[in-house]
């Protein structure tokens, strides 16, 4: 049935192209954020540039876009999501507006968080994105609670919880997985394994067979996937999300990828083996997807179009963020608490 095959091909090409677009938007967003952050980071002893538009630590997910895109493609707006310090991709893929996100990175009143959080705390509750988090593994118990809440309230929402390979060595990983399993919560755990924890290669700090084996040791079914292959991530996530939605309890996905940039934007990552990044770039998720699109017969122009559209979108976001007003100082006293807040020191 060549007609059917062609139709299937075309539909899967469109699907992949949609995933590609998400990845391209994340890439463009982070490239722009990196560019506008130069000198704005005080980590690693580097001096702060008082005029940088993006301040403080900026953690880029460059090279890891397939995980965010592939997983979030299977989530509804009403589903919840928690993230890490490296959360731009997850937030964008979950549906957040790039202008509001860029405004947040620029510390503008029109940012997702009204300029109060910045990159490390980016959140968009309106799309179910309950927050990036500056504390490694801290999102896990929060995701568990959101899933427990969904179950108690009888909603159909499910929760996705992203965390890094370094987070599996913190206590909340054990506690959260155990909790999710005994209460059979609607929760998808995603370990986004980029092989590094700050300046340290995670494998030497991790006993046993890694994230999936640990999850199994706590009684969860777990799968491992090539995290640079957006279709593989999408397929695996679709299956796991379906199981979660069907009441199958928590599921675990271990996505293998690679952190192309330093830990934060100013980290030159001199601790890496020579050639490591170069060979990783062969597996760049956008490049892989573009090759696959070409194989599916998608014209090069359509890919270039997607890249250009992403670029245009982010440039508009940059322009809007540049023009947006900064928060009024009085806003520093707002949204702390209803009881006991005030100017009184």
């Amino acid at each position: 049935m060549p007609a059917n095959t062609t139709a299937a091909n075309a539909s899967s090409a469109e699907h992949l192209l949609a995933l590609y677009r998400t990845m391209a938007r994340i890439r463009a967003f982070e490239n722009a954020a990196e560019e506008t952050s130069r000198g704005g980071v005080a980590a690693f002893g580097a001096a702060t540039n008082a005029t940088a538009l993006v301040r403080g630590p900026l953690h880029l997910s460059t090279g890891q876009e397939a995980v965010a895109a592939g997983v979030c493609a299977n989530l509804a707006r009403s589903d919840y999501l928690t993230s890490t310090h490296r959360g731009h991709g997850h937030t964008l893929a979950k549906g957040a507006d790039t202008t509001a996100m860029m405004c947040e990175l620029f510390g503008r009143a029109s940012g997702t968080n009204k300029g109060k959080g910045g990159s490390m705390h980016i959140a968009d509750f309106a799309v179910g994105m309950l927050g990036a988090n500056g504390v490694v593994a801290a999102g896990i118990p929060i995701a568990v609670g959101a899933a427990h809440s969904a179950k108690i309230r009888g909603t159909s929402a499910i929760v996705t919880c992203f965390f890094g390979d370094g987070a599996i060595n913190r206590g909340p990983f054990l506690e959260g997985l155990n909790w999710a399993k005994i209460f059979e919560l609607p929760l998808l755990f995603v370990c986004e394994d980029n092989r590094y924890s700050a300046t340290t290669a995670t494998d030497v700090m991790t006993a046993g067979e890694g994230a999936a084996a640990r999850a199994r040791g706590i009684g969860l079914a777990a799968e491992t996937v090539d995290g640079n292959d957006v279709l593989a991530v999408d397929t695996a996530a679709r299956e796991l999300v379906a199981r979660v939605r069907a009441g199958g309890g928590p599921q675990f996905l271990h996505a293998l990828t690679y952190r192309v940039k330093g830990h934060v934007s100013v980290d030159a990552a001199a601790y890496r083996a020579k050639g490591e990044v170069e060979s990783a770039l062969e597996n760049d998720p956008l490049k892989l997807a573009a090759l696959r699109l070409a194989a599916l017969g998608v014209a090069a122009g359509r890919i270039a179009e997607a890249d250009a559209a992403a670029q245009t979108e982010i440039e508009a976001a940059l322009a809007a963020a540049r023009a947006a007003p900064v928060p009024e100082p009085a806003e520093a006293y707002a949204d702390i608490q209803d009881t006991g807040a005030g100017l009184w020191r």
Binding site: T82, G117, L130, G131, V144, H148, E175, W179, I182, T339
Partner: protein, 327 residues
């Protein structure tokens, strides 16, 4: 009015809140069997295991999960058993619950009540006897409550569950059995102190278990010719500055007493504020900076007795106008 114990009062306040709002739930270790002090007795029978949730021994996740629950529409009441174990959940309290609303620009609210009893717990030694209310008062985003009586434990717990903020709710480990009258549907506004005894010579500000010690000491002070006004702060943050200022303006001197270690305790905040604002003599009497020992002879050194408090009161009452001893 009904006579009930401090534990029963909290239990009934929680039951009433759970009846009124299906989103109010309780979670923590052993709550399903009524809590180890009976402060959840009968709740699982009435509300079921889905709303009175027995949890694993996972303090960090108990608290962290409560944050996730609160963000998504529930009003969790979290059981930490004693503040000493809540030390296993400090990131979740301080970096998550307290900062969530602010950090995310007001997108979320964290209406949870975290119960973590303070105080010396007879014979339980250093790891089960701490009073750490000052810690939480120091953290923006938190409300801190410390009831001293059954009526207040009913009324303040009701108010805390009703409050949209994360509330650190500190019962006292040795008051569970204390009985008292509780008015029906009682609530006590957060942030309002209570004048537990009127007096004219000196204002004694205190809270939690020490309220009872203070009242006993004040009673004895009368016989020595000193009239002590006792204020039970009830809410540590925000504390009732107006009531305290008004009292001190009348009496002209302030003593703050608490069971917590004196050094960097919340008494310092009250004393410093009053000294700054009113310029009158201030004095504190908190515990020595020592861990609580097991043997009674050691534990007694860590406790403040009515006798010792009386001695401090009298010394202070008889000091000069700058608060210096006249000996």
């Amino acid at each position: 009015m009904a006579l009930m114990s401090y534990a029963q009062a909290a239990c009934q306040a929680l039951a009433a809140a759970m009846r009124a709002d299906a989103n109010v739930i309780a979670l923590g270790e052993d709550v399903g069997h009524g809590g180890i002090f009976g402060q959840y007795r009968g709740l699982r029978e009435e509300f079921g295991a889905a709303r009175v949730i027995d949890t694993p021994i996972s303090e960090a996740t108990i608290m962290g999960a409560a944050v996730g629950m609160a963000l998504t529409g529930l009003r969790p009441v979290v059981e930490m058993r004693v503040v000493d174990f809540a030390l296993c959940a400090i990131d979740e309290i301080v970096n998550q619950a307290a900062k969530n609303r602010y950090m995310f620009g007001g997108q979320g609210r964290v209406p949870l009540v975290a119960r973590m009893p303070i105080g010396i717990w007879s014979g339980s030694a250093a790891q089960h006897s701490q009073s750490l209310e000052a810690w939480f008062a120091h953290i923006p985003g938190l409300v801190v409550v410390a009831p001293a009586t059954p009526a207040d434990n009913y009324g303040l717990l009701a108010a805390a569950i009703d409050c949209g903020d994360p509330v650190i709710y500190m019962e006292h480990k040795e008051l569970w059995g204390l009985e008292g009258e509780v008015p029906p549907q009682h609530t006590v506004a957060l942030g309002q102190a209570h004048t537990a005894r009127d007096g004219t010579d000196l204002t004694l500000v205190t809270w939690s278990g020490m309220v009872h010690t203070a009242l006993a000491a004040a009673e004895q002070a009368v016989q020595q010719g000193v009239s002590v006004e006792v204020i039970d702060l009830r809410t540590i943050w925000p504390w009732d500055r107006e009531l305290v200022f008004a009292s001190v303006a009348r009496t002209g001197r302030l003593l703050v007493a608490h069971e917590a270690v004196q050094a960097a305790g919340f008494g310092a905040e009250v004393a410093a504020t009053v000294a700054e604002e009113l310029g009158v003599p201030v004095r504190r009497f908190g515990a020595a900076r020592i861990p609580v020992g097991y043997a009674r002879s050691l534990e007694d050194v860590a406790r403040i007795s009515a006798q010792e408090l009386l001695r401090e009161l009298m010394l202070f009452a008889n000091s000069d106008s700058r608060g210096r001893s006249m000996a």
